[in-house]
Structure formats: structure tokens, C-alpha cells
Symmetry: C2
Subunit: 356 residues, 2 copies
């Protein structure tokens, strides 16, 4: 694996009508591109992910590697950071060439389609005409759907995991609470906190805590923490962190602010809110092989929402497989419950070889 920066030096026209004067994408690759460049798989990350999907501490470490479901002995795996993010790609913390200062809230609004359009330019740059597959969970799954809609002839298959055809009302509502927390943090300074040498850590931390609850299932939270107390007894004190689950959430929040930019959180959650391809999917007529995967205990993107994708894709007779995986780990299953997901993905990819 190696992290590379792809620099696109021309303007990128955005869905909003605005444009990015130029942009960079950080990406990593694993395995070898074969001679006819037909074995490339693009891995698409979720809200807070990066290009570091495979290898040590990669967010999909168990999925990518020799003999893994995304087998680097067979496939050339590319994982690109999305625009708007803060892991080496152009986003609100990048320098605005017009001002020489970080964009902040002058960064244009981006959508999932814009993320995909930027990735397409990277794929062109790599000289790949057709991707063997695009695959991702959560926001990554949305991108995998968007790839199919925008570039139906440039992908052979699309694997959409723990995702949806449209961001639900409840999820927009949860995102709203997270953004509200960030924007109202006194250290936010209308997105220009970079100039103040500070960060809206409290707001971003709280946003992450709220979101983190939605990533887990009630059952797994109960199993992991139950009503366990840090000191073994009630302290009858408002200031103390008494329950293990409180401590865990605070820790998740604190860890997150060290690694993620608050403005990126605003922009990417907004892009997710905008995501709605319920009109596009029934009109899609493609040769793409789709694999839709859902997890039983995922309540952020519940099974019904994956089934809705299947239904919409079938309206125009697209080729769709659907797998429901029994898991108690909630939405995060796609990141941590690798075994069954891996088997399904690898056999699906293997099956594509027999296709023309």
C-alpha cells in the first residue's frame, strides 16, 4: 500500500452549480493492476473514513489483502479519500487558492455525485476504462449506487452495503443534531476556527457521541456495557461519569476530535442528507451486476432500506442479488463483522469472472 495524491489541476463542476478550481484526492492501492487493466476494484469509504482501507490499521483491514475477500492476489484495489474530507483530499480545511487561507465555510457544498465525479477523474488518470467493481458501506454504499447511475458503462458491478437509496428523515434529523452541536460551539467561529488556532472540539465530540449510538445496536450496547458502573456503585453525583457506557461515549468523542475536521463533518453529513436516487434507480437500464447487503441489527440503514434499493433496481430489470446478514452489531457490522460479509463478497466477485 502507498498513499498517493492525485492532483487534478482543472476546475471540477459541482452539482450545486459552483465549482472547485482544482482538487486533490488522496488514494492508496493494494495488489497489482493487470495488463488489460480489468481487475481494478474501487473501495468507497464512509463518513469518517480515509484512503487507508487495507493493511495495518486500515478500516477494512480484514477485507483487503492476499487471500482476503478483496484478494490482492487477484484484484487491484484502489481506495480513494472523498472530496470534502480531511485525509489528504481537498476539503474545507484545505487552502483556498483565492485567499491563501483554509476554505472553511467558503468551501462549496458537495454531493455524493461530486465525490464520485472526482473519483472518476482519478480512475481515468490511472488509465482504467472499466472497474471490475465498486464497493462500499454506508456513505460508501451510496457512492457505489451513484457510480452505477452516473457511470453505468464504466463499472462491471456495484456492491452496496448497509446503505440506502435515500437518506431517511430520521437520519437527516440525527445529522442535524450533530451539525447543530458543532455550529453552536463557541470555538466554531463560523467555520473559521483555523484562524483562531482553536477547534470546536466540544461540538464535534458531541456530534460523534450521538452518531456513535446510531452505529451500534441496542443489543450490542447492552452486551458490551449493560448498566455496569465504573466504580461498582452509584455515586449520586452529576459530575461523575458513572456508567461504563458514558465513559465509552466520551472516549469515542475525544478520540474522534483528534483525527477529524469539524467542517468536513458538516459538509459530508450534508452530502449524505442530499442523497436521494429513488428517481434515478428505476430508470437505470444497465448491465451492471448489483449486490446489495444488509445487516439485521442495523437501525441506521435498516434492512427495509436495502430491500427498497433492490425493488427500485428491479423495476427496470437490473441484475440484483440481495444478502441479509444476521448480525447483532448494528450499522457498524460492515466494518467489524467481516466473516460472512467477506464470503458473500468474494463469491460474488468470483462469479463475475464467468460473465462476458
Amino acid at each position: 500500500m502507498k498513499k498517493i495524491i492525485f492532483n487534478f489541476d482543472k476546475p471540477l463542476k459541482l452539482v450545486s452549480g459552483q465549482e472547485l478550481p482544482s482538487f486533490e484526492l488522496a488514494y492508496e492501492t493494494y495488489g497489482q493492476l493487470n495488463e488489460d487493466k480489468s481487475n481494478a476494484i474501487l473501495v468507497l469509504h464512509a463518513l469518517s473514513g480515509s484512503s487507508h482501507a487495507g493493511g495495518k490499521d486500515g478500516w477494512w483491514e480484514g477485507m483487503i489483502g492476499p487471500g482476503c475477500p478483496l484478494d490482492t492476489n487477484k484484484y487491484f484495489i484502489i481506495c480513494s479519500n472523498i472530496i470534502g474530507s480531511c485525509y489528504g483530499s481537498t476539503g474545507p480545511s484545505s487552502i483556498n487558492p483565492k485567499t491563501g487561507k483554509p476554505y472553511g465555510l467558503d468551501f462549496p457544498i458537495i454531493t455524493v455525485k461530486d465525490m464520485v465525479n472526482a473519483q472518476k477523474l482519478l480512475i481515468d488518470h490511472l488509465g482504467i476504462k472499466k472497474l471490475y467493481s465498486v464497493i462500499g458501506g454506508s456513505l460508501g454504499g451510496m457512492q457505489a449506487l451513484e457510480w452505477a447511475i452516473t457511470y453505468p458503462n464504466e463499472i462491471k458491478s456495484s456492491i452496496v452495503i448497509a446503505a440506502t437509496s435515500r437518506m431517511s428523515t430520521q437520519n437527516i434529523a440525527f445529522n442535524e443534531t450533530g451539525r447543530f452541536a458543532i455550529i453552536l460551539d463557541p470555538n466554531f467561529h463560523n467555520g473559521d476556527y483555523y484562524s483562531y488556532n482553536t477547534k470546536p472540539t466540544t461540538g464535534l465530540s458531541l456530534a460523534r457521541m450521538i452518531a456513535h449510538i446510531t452505529y451500534l445496536s441496542e443489543k450490542i450496547m447492552d452486551q458490551k456495557f449493560g448498566r455496569e458502573l465504573k466504580s461498582g456503585k452509584y455515586l449520586f453525583d452529576l459530575h461523575s461519569i458513572e456508567f461504563e457506557v458514558q465513559s465509552y461515549l466520551r472516549y469515542q468523542g475525544e478520540k474522534f476530535v483528534e483525527r477529524f475536521d469539524a467542517n468536513s463533518y458538516l459538509y459530508i453529513t450534508k452530502a449524505m442528507d442530499y442523497f436521494d436516487v429513488t428517481k434515478e434507480l428505476p430508470n437505470l437500464k444497465s448491465k451492471i451486476k448489483f449486490l446489495i447487503i444488509a445487516f439485521t441489527s442495523d437501525w441506521l440503514f435498516p434492512v427495509e432500506q436495502s430491500m427498497e434499493i433492490v425493488k427500485l433496481l428491479k423495476e427496470n430489470n437490473n441484475n440484483v442479488s440481495f444478502s441479509l446478514i444476521d448480525s447483532d452489531k448494528g450499522h457498524d457490522s460492515f466494518l467489524i463483522d467481516i466473516e460472512e460479509q467477506g464470503k458473500i463478497v468474494s463469491s460474488f466477485l468470483e462469479g463475475l469472472k464467468n460473465e462476458i
Copy 2:
């Protein structure tokens, strides 16, 4: 209906070991107490409720009145505000007799049992030896269970709606995010905001927004707001409130801060977190008739948690009925989906008449 203040002028010993030097409870009554004082029903309110349950704009207006499920032609209905609240009862915004200033965070930690103990003193004061029933939803349901445990001979029946035998890990986690929002609001001043002539409105508002999502079902949110846009189109702007559901949530937050005290929110959610009667219920041996009611779409206190109450009560052969109501309105069903709930409650109460 008339709002009355019950003043208890002696110390109230609390579960924590601390005590309140004295306390007041605001309560309202509806209907007439009969001669042998055997027709009194105590209505128990939820987190942000008040004693104003019946009559115009009462939080259970449709449940209480002549000919209503809690029929004031038959029953004498009492609804008491809980200690810790801010609707006329002693809570953190009340004057601390020791300092002449509001308690703030010097208010002692309270539990559901303390709320019930305070109410019991009110019932004694009214000269009522045995309540015909205690009834409540959510935190009110927890109180109805606690009444049965603490005063099993002083109640004839207990109606526990949309509640639980122990606050779940997920719900403690959600409460934690709400309290975090309040405590980190710069206007919180460690709970002493009264002295600064300000209020942590941002934090409390956000706490309410988060909680409000948990009160509704995903389905009803989708039906009410879907992905409707306020201006009919995407604005591609981070500052705008684009989706109707965003606007609705903000409004819920703003409305709430006008009527509720942030410290009360901290103390009452903490009391809920402490609630766990899973050890007490199986040891209870009583003549109480229990009615447990759950709503299919309630994911804050899901059906399984009501069924767990039933199971625990049956271990010692307590008399328990269970009703599951099909509703798509989520946890708030107990407040708004009155019709079927009302029928079940009224026929249960009617049935008690034939009991000795």
C-alpha cells in the same frame, strides 16, 4: 381542576443518603374523592410533564375527564408534579433555604423512589389510605412500578405504560448526550446560570432535539416530513434550514427551552438512568393488579422491555395483564394515541370494581 401546592415541612430522606430539608409538590385534582376515599387514581408524569394532566392543554387531556378513560364521574384523579421538576415542585431552580439562592447543582441527586416517596406523603396528606390505581407512561410508568415495590399495600393496581424495568444502555447513552450538551453550554455556569441572568438554551435545546428523535418512530417521521424541503428545492447552503424535519426539530428545541429548566433536565434524566428494579420485581409478592402496556413502534422503550416487566412480575405469581397496542407513533404513542390505550385502561379499571 385546580393547581395546589402541598408543602411538606420536614426533611425528606433520599436514597442517596442526603436529605431535602423540606419540599413542595404542585398537584392538580379532577373529579371528587368519594366518602370512603377509595376512588383515587394517581397519574404519574414523564420527564418533562407537569401536574397539569387533565383539562384544557393538559398533557393527557383526552384521557382525563367526564366519560374519559380516567372518568372523573367515577374517579378522583390526582396528578402531582415530581420533585426535581420545575413546575411548582421543589427542584434545582427552587430556593435553597440554607443560602437563599436557587439550589443549582447543590440540589441533591434524586431517584424515582424519592419521587414516589414524596408523592406518598402527598397521598397521606389527602387522607387516602389506598389508591385505586397509579398510572403513567415512560418515567411515569417507572414510578408506577416503584409505587408497587415501595408501597405494595397502598395501591390496588398499577398501570405501567411504555416503560421498562431498567433504563437500557442505549437510553443512558442518549441521556448522556443530552446532559453533555447542557453542561458544555457556556451559559451553564456549572448550574448557577440563575445568578448570571442567563440560561443554557443552546444546550437544552439540543438535548431536546436529540430526545425528540427518540420519541418518534422512523415511520412517523417519514410520513410527517419525509424529505420535504422548506423552499421546495435544495439550497446548497450550510446555513439554511433546508429540510422540514430540521425546521421541526429546531422548533421543538426552541419551544422546550421556554418552558423547562436545564438543571431539572439533568436531575430527572439522571434519576431515569438510575432506575433498575429488575432485582425487586421478582421478589415482589403482592395483591396488586398490574396492567403493562407497550406500543409496537416504540423504540425508546421497546416492547421487549415491557415483556420483561411481565416476566419478572410473574416469577412470584403477581397478577399481570399485558396489552400490546399497534401504533406507528413511537414512544409518544402513550401521549397521543389515546383511543385504544383509553379503552384498555378504562376496562381494566372497571374490572377492578369486582375485586375485593
